[in-house]
Symmetry: C2
């Protein structure tokens, strides 16, 4: 088996760290307890392990192809997608009233993780469909919801996000695609969109493109962008598919990784205009797109966890099998499997600690989102929404950046074999490289963390999280086991570093924005390791309590948390220095362009 | 121009940090002063920039091919190699008595850097030939030297290193290839070697394979390995090429990167045995191979610097050209080129600081090697040899690991375009990935650093370097410029961390080898950032003194050194914690295999 869903750890995190019981106590989630979670995860694992995981290498070797505007997915993908659709997997977290399963995001998140771990390229298609569903549910008219959402939830149709243009990447103010009203309530859309993931393919009968465009006389910049539905095939009044719309895939990209997932250049309106339907109000497109994007950003963070775990599993399997060199402590006369060598073990522990920490942070964030959506008390909803929104750029930015390190270590564990494509470790290294880029680069996430998530509330949410961390530190200090006390020491140092950085960001952003934004990615990384380390510390406390029940699992959890604390958390102070002591590097920010 | 050799920085480092004047004062290097260095570097740059750099992308798109045992290099490579040979570039650092140029390693090193920066795949062929030359010069008989070395130095023939076998990678004790004496002084070699770089190709008329093999009745393990010359074509008494030897390339690998460089599986002796000639004495092969390997390890460290610099140059060019988003400080109403955005600048500064630090450390190491070879006083030679040997695993391990980060940042600066292969940034990311693996993985380098380079002399060389660092710290503290004082603070903290780790390694290796070796790669990384940061600090002191002469260059040097100090050096303390406080992770080392 090339991938085994880590159901045990997933359920542990869901129940013990993300508070699945609390989620199952929310209105509408009464059936979403531990039993449901286990059943859903086990069923999801079957599809992922048996159908999707074996297709992952295939997708890398035989990417999607383009011919005369038609994109054919990797052989086997269409059939696998049919099974995905038949299992109802697109609908896991979507409302029952549109024929979804109505499960909490907490339970959907491990499903998303395993989908991506088994096949990142494949999983991108449902990932973007999820985003389209969320945008339509939030901003679409009732008629639009009725027309599109059930088909998207069933998986009969898929969705896309059309933001990027050649001149407009991170900067959506530069979007030029235009939408001309036809007087009948419809628009005609003209323009070129690039980097459209699964923008054209043969796995579903229709594709619902959500497209950012400008109406005539719209204001310049981001305040003049509207959001449109542009279906690949027009839909008749009775819901049947009609004429082909004027949106065409003119090419797909030749990429470093995720090769099975077609990245399309879409041309809108070369033959008279693509029929488009306005979502919500004119000029509020960016706001709606952000709904979609936030869902997608969270999911991309889970892609980081997913590919990291897959790389970890492969590295462990190789390390147990590959025999090379005698043990350094002289405990055997013969060469042993490399898992016994201290540095191989260090690499595996690092891969594992980062992956488990990021997984825990992601699932905890998902639970906050569930409470934010379903809690009876509006005040509680708002509080959890704020925490979730603070966590999203961290989940996205940190989990994806760490996936670069983990997949790179995965190659390293394989030695020279890791560099040979047939081995498979290199694919994860290549695939992961897109994750800190798409759906907003790490710098964009960090800008969001600084601007909207820290400055806007004067650091209030961050302070709230820091107080929660204090509780964990106190509990750790009360333990007599040295490993837990060591975790307490490192977590406290990390917490203090984060606290000082938050303070610095809030105090200096107005006065010296360049310095603060020069430290924005380091701040995000710092927040990631402290919050991830906190989750691991919480896990260690629980594991200590239950150790007797399952010594192997809980023992490993404590060791992994200790590794995280002693190898990852100490860097918090170093990052603080690079931000605060260095004041964002007054000097190097002032270098002339010519000096580079 | 896709690559511009950074001659100004190279000469600065050579003259001011590596002490080229001292080198030019050594017997036999009288003509190797600054003028010679400049002339050689400028001439080398022409070939690298104009001929080799443009072929780099070509090599990635059209790798070497294998057909019926014949390997054809990428179109254009053969002609480029002819120009390389005609320029006498293979002979730069080799003795004049064998028709080399007899220049110091200090001057050869920037040539090697630019060769690799322009075309990593191409440069591997001369890199391995260099290693073969060194091994033959040290351990070959006079007749062997006369027969092979001039042809290798001229570039008419190329050399290879044949160590690895399917079951014997890092662990050469497992080598099985056998060599049977024929009674006439020759041997017949039988076996399979894998991962043989440029093991077969059409760029030169002959290939001199140096092959590790066992003679009958040789002791088990590494003490029973001998080194043999196995030429592709046998050589007649008159030096002309004779019959094809029984060594054949049965396939080449499909790799993540350096695709133009054929990685061969070589089959020895399938048709009666490959004729081989013993080098030096039986069973001392590993010792001789280490000569070759040490030269190659240093050169691979320079490959790290090279690919990092190439990635930096590409990222800078893109950042100056790509216009996206308004400045965060509101200083412009329009979108600006992204080099103005603080995080892009941070990424570029990080790429630059790491690259310059590693370059400086490498060139300084090369100068130690020159003194070790040529100084009149044996005691001085021994002292510098010991420093050089301490530095080699650090130059190899740290420079190549940092090249992974730098080439990854290079992709990130390009955003989505970085993930598209046509852009070219991804090639560096893929190419670099082999560097911390071949010629001994980072763990192997770290074992060498701990075992042979630190424990054997009780940390004496390390202490000597720490004392030299103290001198730099004192000089920095005497300055009144805040940037230099900040560098002093961080360098001192880094120095202290390294000192404590050396002490820990020396004190604990016997008692607790697993813990110490679990911290070996972190120790190597720590040594890299402290020694690299030290070189940058030395550079800043000189730049401060000369700032008026060239404000742009020296100003940038100070800022870059400050960035290194404030963003890279603070991690020294964190690494110390992970080694010393964590004691190599007593806990996680004890996990059962099943717990992974």
């Amino acid at each position: 088996m090339s991938y085994t869903a880590p159901i045990k750890d997933m359920l542990f995190v869901l129940k013990e760290l993300a508070g699945l019981d609390t989620v199952a106590g929310l209105p509408g989630f009464e059936d979403a307890g531990a039993e449901t979670a286990q059943a859903v995860l086990e069923e999801s694992a079957k599809l992922c392990e048996q159908v999707l995981a074996p297709l992952n290498v295939e997708g890398d070797r035989n990417p999607s192809t383009w011919k005369d505007g038609v994109v054919s997915a990797t052989p086997g993908f269409k059939e696998a997608f049919r099974q995905f659709v038949e299992g109802g997997w697109q609908g896991v977290q979507h409302p029952a009233e549109y024929e979804g399963q109505g499960l909490p995001k907490s339970i959907a998140t491990p499903c998303i993780e395993m989908l991506n771990a088994s096949n990142l390229s494949f999983a991108l298609c449902p990932l973007l469909t999820d985003g389209a569903i969320e945008a339509l549910l939030t901003a679409g008219s009732e008629a639009q919801k009725q027309r599109y959402v059930p088909k998207l939830i069933s998986g009969e149709w898929t969705g896309t996000m059309n933001l990027t243009e050649p001149q407009a990447g991170s900067d959506l103010a530069l979007v030029r695609t235009r939408a001309e009203p036809q007087g009948d309530g419809t628009y005609r859309v003209f323009g070129t969109k690039i980097f459209i993931t699964w923008g054209e393919h043969d796995m579903a009968e229709n594709i619902v493109h959500l497209v950012l465009a400008r109406t005539p006389n719209a204001p310049e910049g981001v305040k003049g962008i509207s959001l449109f539905i542009v279906p690949k095939f027009l839909i008749g009044e009775d819901g049947t598919l009609g004429a082909r719309n004027d949106v065409h895939c003119v090419s797909i990209e030749h990429k470093l990784g995720i090769k099975a997932s077609p990245t399309a250049v879409l041309q809108f309106g070369d033959h008279g205009g693509a029929v488009g339907y306005l979502i919500g109000e004119e000029n509020r497109g960016l706001e709606y797109m952000f709904i979609m994007m936030n869902a997608a950003r969270f999911a991309v963070g889970m892609q980081g966890v997913a590919v990291a775990d897959r790389a970890y599993q492969k590295a462990v399997a190789y390390a147990k099998e590959r025999v090379q060199s005698r043990p350094v402590d002289g405990s055997a006369k013969q060469a042993v499997s490399i898992v016994h060598h201290p540095d191989v073990r260090r690499m595996l522990m690092r891969m594992r600690a980062l992956t488990e920490g990021a997984r825990a942070l992601g699932y905890v964030a998902a639970a906050h989102s569930d409470i934010a959506h379903r809690h009876a008390d509006e005040r509680v909803r708002a509080e959890h929404q704020a925490i979730y929104e603070y966590l999203v750029p961290i989940v996205k930015g940190w989990s994806t950046e760490m996936s670069l390190e983990v997949t790179s270590l995965g190659v390293q564990v394989h030695g020279g074999m890791g560099f040979i494509e047939e081995t498979g470790a290199a694919q994860y290294y290549r695939d992961a490289r897109i994750l800190p880029i798409y759906e907003g680069t790490t710098a964009i996430q960090a800008n969001d963390l600084v601007g909207r998530k820290t400055l806007r509330d004067g650091g209030a949410v961050a302070q709230r999280l820091l107080r929660d961390i204090d509780g964990t530190i106190e509990a750790l200090k009360a333990q007599d086991e040295p490993s837990l006390r060591s975790i307490a020491t490192q977590l406290e140092a990390g917490r203090d570093a984060l606290a000082r950085v938050v303070e610095y960001v809030v105090a200096h952003a107005k006065r010296d924005p360049n310095a603060v934004f020069a430290g924005s990615v380091p701040y995000l990384e710092l927040a990631g390791i402290v919050l991830g380390g906190w989750q691991m510390a919480r896990a260690a406390l629980i594991a200590r309590e239950r150790q007797a029940q399952d010594p192997a699992f809980f023992g490993a959890k404590i060791r992994t948390a200790q590794f995280f604390a002693e190898h990852v958390l100490p860097h918090a102070a170093a990052i603080e220095t690079s931000i605060v002591t260095a004041k964002g590097g007054e000097g190097w920010l002032a270098l002339d362009g010519d000096q580079f």
